[in-house]
């Protein structure tokens, strides 16, 4: 024990190997050996002098990333080597095997002192970043000018870029995704980062370059609202298609019964109107390009009855079948895009029907730039009513100036400027984190084309034709249409289905449900003393029922529908029944209390 006290413990993949006199020297030599190729490149060493331990890691599953090796404050990546690389004389492999670049894992990183730029190098540095962008992740690296934005906005921008519509796959026509969006004319951004190009993201773009003005417009862009140019929208700006796939299968049931795709006979239980089946072919499957509305049948299907029926008088008569068709959901419509006939994993006949609908931007659709600046369309304004510039340029989008200062998204402003410059000289601008093009270069380009260098322009009110007093900042930004579209969310109900068990309205848009009037809402009405309104909400508009109650014993009466007579189950014929209005949920509660063997009585009194 005493002997090893001052020695460094050496661990291989977490298991103690032994002890060494001088841990510092040992790591140095081990690393040297790795850089010269004696030890495998994938091995990492981490030395913790304070804990007197040295960890050697060779196992799989460590996240590792490359750094340029620095010795004595000098980068190993010299200009001569870079030159060679330019001539394609050397490859990445050369860098790694010649001790210029090495991969560190999370543990060895603890021992490294990494400079982000070559200019920062001092004697103490051990490594140099290949590029400063690499300190951010892949998603952030796609964003333009992230270093100009506040971090919460970057987080939001990353989250939202994952919700953007674009060309998610080039074979979307062949795919049967359960839901998919495809943008009509997606564009590559005018202002893009190098990682964006590296990933060839512009081959699968997810947005369009909008002409954006920072101004107010009659209150229609208050509080993260945006005003969009209706004529731009008519020219297919931000237009997208929405695909939804319906699926149904001919299932087999125990007892040899099975479903059948067909046009159901009117005798089938749950038969819909004839018109609902009119678009089906003989096989019970709808034709491509048929226009469908909510509740239209896509695939006619009949199923065997849920419960076995009694044998009728004529022996085993034809079985009563049940309608079980695939139907277009409430609030959805479109055209049948394609139909796929296959076999399910269990070997049954399977039909997939893809329905397509065009989603033209409308008030309520959500848009976002790549700076966490999201907004919802508040108005589609006619082009002639929107402000225009001296050259007659009318913005596609007007965002509110209040969206900028408190959020500190300077990157958005810079992108507007860069986008405008890119439009003028016809080249995309570089917006790579930490190393992107600078404001001055954008200003210079703009000045060359006769614009003000700060991007502001004199705009004229489209309605009055008068010049707007203030100069308006106008530029071009890459905007993303996000998949939160009102048409897929809108929901209203004034009357509709109720639940079987409680007689209360159903829940959720899919079931055409009501909105819950919850406990806190209830408290509010009580707090206002609005007794009658509360009763209306909780009873009248919900699960009101009338029950007969026996005044003698307080039990709820039963009704014999054959003799059309109600009587108390306890006091039988001695009829002293009174009708009361209660909530069905309460009646259910009474029933459940009875079910546990307790007899609840309702004591009747005259209403005072």
């Amino acid at each position: 024990m005493e002997k090893t006290k001052h020695k460094t413990a050496v661990y291989l993949n977490g298991r103690l190997l032994g002890f060494h006199e001088n841990g510092g020297k040992l790591v140095d030599s081990l690393r040297e050996k790795r850089r010269t190729g004696i030890i495998n490149k994938q091995v990492n060493f981490a030395h913790f002098p304070r804990e007197k331990s040295l960890y050697i890691n060779t196992d799989s599953g460590r996240a590792r990333r490359p750094y340029i090796i620095v010795e004595n404050g000098k980068s190993k990546l010299t200009s001569e080597i870079v030159e060679k690389l330019g001539k394609k004389e050397v490859t990445w492999e050369y860098f790694v095997s010649n001790g210029i670049i090495e991969y560190l894992d999370a543990e060895e990183e603890e021992n490294a002192y990494v400079a982000t730029r070559e200019e920062e190098l001092t004697e103490e540095h051990t490594h140099l970043e290949i590029d400063p962008v690499s300190i951010v992740g892949v998603t952030v690296a796609q964003l333009p000018f992230p270093e100009y934005n506040s971090s919460p906005r970057i987080t939001m921008a990353c989250a939202m870029s994952k919700q953007s519509l674009g060309l998610y796959a080039s074979n979307f026509n062949l795919r049967m995704d359960s839901r998919a969006h495809i943008m009509y004319y997606p564009q590559a951004p005018l202002v893009q980062s190098r990682p964006y190009r590296t990933l060839k993201f512009s081959k699968r773009p997810a947005g369009q370059n909008f002409v954006v003005a920072v101004a107010t417009y009659y209150g229609y862009n208050m509080g993260d609202g945006v005003v969009m140019n209706r004529n731009s929208v008519d020219r297919a700006l931000a237009r997208s298609a929405f695909y939804k796939t319906y699926e149904t299968e001919e299932r087999r049931y125990p007892g040899g019964q099975k479903d059948k795709f067909e046009i159901p006979q009117p005798t089938v239980a749950g038969y819909r109107e004839e018109a609902m089946y009119s678009k089906l072919g003989e096989d019970g499957i709808i034709f491509p390009e048929a226009e469908v509305k909510a509740r239209d049948v896509l695939v006619g299907k009949t199923s065997p009855p849920r419960f076995l029926e009694e044998v009728s008088g004529f022996g085993i008569a034809e079985e009563k079948k049940r309608e079980n068709s695939a139907v277009v959901k409430e609030g959805e419509e479109g055209f049948v895009d394609s139909i796929l006939l296959t076999e399910s994993p269990s070997g049954n006949k399977l039909v997939k029907v893809k329905v397509r609908s065009v989603k033209v931007p409308e008030p309520g659709d959500k848009f976002a730039s790549r700076h966490g600046q999201k907004g919802v369309i508040g108005l589609l304004a006619n082009q002639e009513d929107m402000p225009f510039s001296e050259q007659g340029v009318v913005p596609d989008l007007i965002i509110n100036p209040h969206a900028i200062p408190s959020r500190m998204t300077a990157g958005h402003i810079l992108e507007m400027l860069g986008g405008k410059a890119a439009c003028m000289n016809g080249k995309t601008m570089d917006a790579t984190a930490f190393n992107g093009d600078k404001e001055e270069s954008f200003s210079k380009i703009l000045e060359n084309y006769g614009f003000k260098k700060n991007g502001e322009e004199r705009l004229y009110d489209g309605i009055s034709g008068e010049a707007i007093n203030a100069e308006i900042f106008i530029g071009v930004v890459y905007y993303q249409k996000l998949h939160h579209l009102v048409s897929n969310k809108m929901h209203v109900r004034s009357r509709g289905p109720v639940q079987l068990l409680t007689h209360q309205p159903t829940e959720g848009r899919a079931r055409e449900g009501g909105l819950r009037f919850g406990e806190m809402e209830r408290d509010c009405l009580i707090g206002h003393g609005a007794s009658m309104l509360l009763k209306e909400r909780m009873l009248e508009e919900s699960d009101k029922t009338t029950e007969l109650v026996c005044a003698k014993c307080g039990s709820v009466a039963v009704t014999d529908y054959i003799r059309n007579k109600s009587y108390c189950p306890l006091c039988s014929e001695s009829n002293e029944l009174y009708a009361i209005e209660i909530s069905y949920a309460f009646k259910l509660l009474l029933d459940e209390i009875k079910a546990i063997g307790v007899f609840p009585r309702i004591i009747l009194k005259d209403k005072a």
């Binding site: 209830r522 408290d523 509010c524 009580i526 707090g527 206002h528 003393g529 609005a530 007794s531 009658m532 509360l534 009763k535 909780m538 009873l539 009101k544 209005e581 209660i582 909530s583 949920a585 309460f586 509660l589 209390i593 546990i596 307790v598 004591i603 005072a608």
Partner: protein, 332 residues
């Protein structure tokens, strides 16, 4: 004048109070906890508010403000002396306690220095030990040796644990005392609270001395004092966050918690659990328990409260629901 500010009959004051205290409470959670200050490790903000409302046995960090009579409060020196006297000292603080398992003995080695500081002698300590421990005790110079009667190792350990927390001096439960200056006098702030003993202590101004342990106040000074303490504590928490809540809401809360002469928490074990209505209790918590006991006792729900009436679907007896229309039918 007062009449103009009174509440209308049928106003749902309880809901108003609950919402008026509860809504600012939601804002509190976000900006609380670390408040800089002298001995301010006492929970503030939402945790403290919950503590008050839940009326647990003792607060997480009980604390007292002890004011002194004039002869002690004038100069820091005498206040400091008071502080030293009041602070509880237990054996482990002034002595090292060693277990000798071989001899089955416990050796107590009091430190000369801290004995001098605290003004206690070995003899006094031995006397105190005699009171709590059974077995033979002998003094060997600077050493006190206790030999417990039983020879079980476990009981030796038990005896040491007892000795460690042996009260030597000061007031039980007052673990830390700081001298503070305020309003031209010195007063003491403590960690730990023992209201009863402190009030009896010589030189303590019992009229102004305060504890944040509401249960203790109730025990020592009675229910009205406890009511005032609830109001004061809750108000202080809200005022600290600059939340403007009308006192009358808090007063109503305090009234509800103290109305039957004992301190009752809000919740399952208190206010809500003691509601008259079976349905209201069943709707809150422990549904089955309430339904079963009601069945066993053949209880009747008179439907006088709010929740019950919502459940059965009648007008609730607040606001417009309190008004009844009566009509005299003409003679036939």
């Amino acid at each position: 004048m007062a009449g103009k500010r009174s509440i209308d009959p049928g106003e749902a004051v309880g809901v108003l109070a609950a919402q008026s205290i509860g809504e600012p409470g939601t804002q509190m959670t976000m900006r609380t906890f670390h408040y800089a200050g002298v001995a301010e490790q006492v929970p503030t903000g939402l945790p403290r508010l919950i503590e008050i409302v839940d009326m647990r046995r003792s607060p997480k960090k009980p604390t007292m403000d002890i004011y002194l009579t004039k002869q002690y409060s004038k100069d820091e020196e005498s206040a400091r002396r008071m502080a030293e006297e009041i602070e509880e000292i237990n054996l482990s603080k002034i002595a090292e306690i060693r277990e000798n398992f071989a001899k089955k003995e416990i050796e107590i080695i009091p430190s000369q220095q801290s004995m001098k500081e605290q003004g206690v002698t070995i003899g006094e300590i031995t006397k105190k030990i005699k009171k709590v421990a059974s077995g033979s005790i002998r003094e060997e110079g600077n050493l006190i040796i206790l030999k417990p009667k039983t020879t079980l190792l476990r009981s030796v350990r038990r005896a040491t644990n007892k000795l460690k927390s042996l009260h030597v001096k000061g007031i039980n439960g007052i673990s830390r005392v700081v001298v503070l200056k305020g309003d031209g006098e010195y007063f003491l702030r403590t960690g730990g609270s023992n209201f009863e003993e402190v009030l009896k202590w010589d030189g303590v101004d019992s009229g102004r001395t305060y504890t944040n342990n509401i249960k203790e106040i109730e025990k020592v000074l009675g229910i009205e004092a406890a009511r005032n303490a609830i109001i004061r504590e809750a108000n202080q928490v809200l005022a600290m966050q600059k939340l403007d809540v009308d006192v009358r809401h808090i007063m109503l809360l305090a009234d509800a918690m103290t109305m039957d002469g004992s301190l009752k928490p809000v919740g399952r074990h208190g206010l809500s659990g003691e509601k008259v209505s079976i349905l209201a209790r069943a709707a809150f918590e422990e549904t089955i328990k309430h339904l079963i006991t009601a069945a066993v006792k053949a209880d009747e729900d008179k439907l006088l409260g709010v929740t019950e009436n919502v459940i059965v679907g009648q007008e609730v007896p607040v606001g417009t629901g309190t008004v009844k229309l009566m009509m005299k039918l003409g003679k036939k």
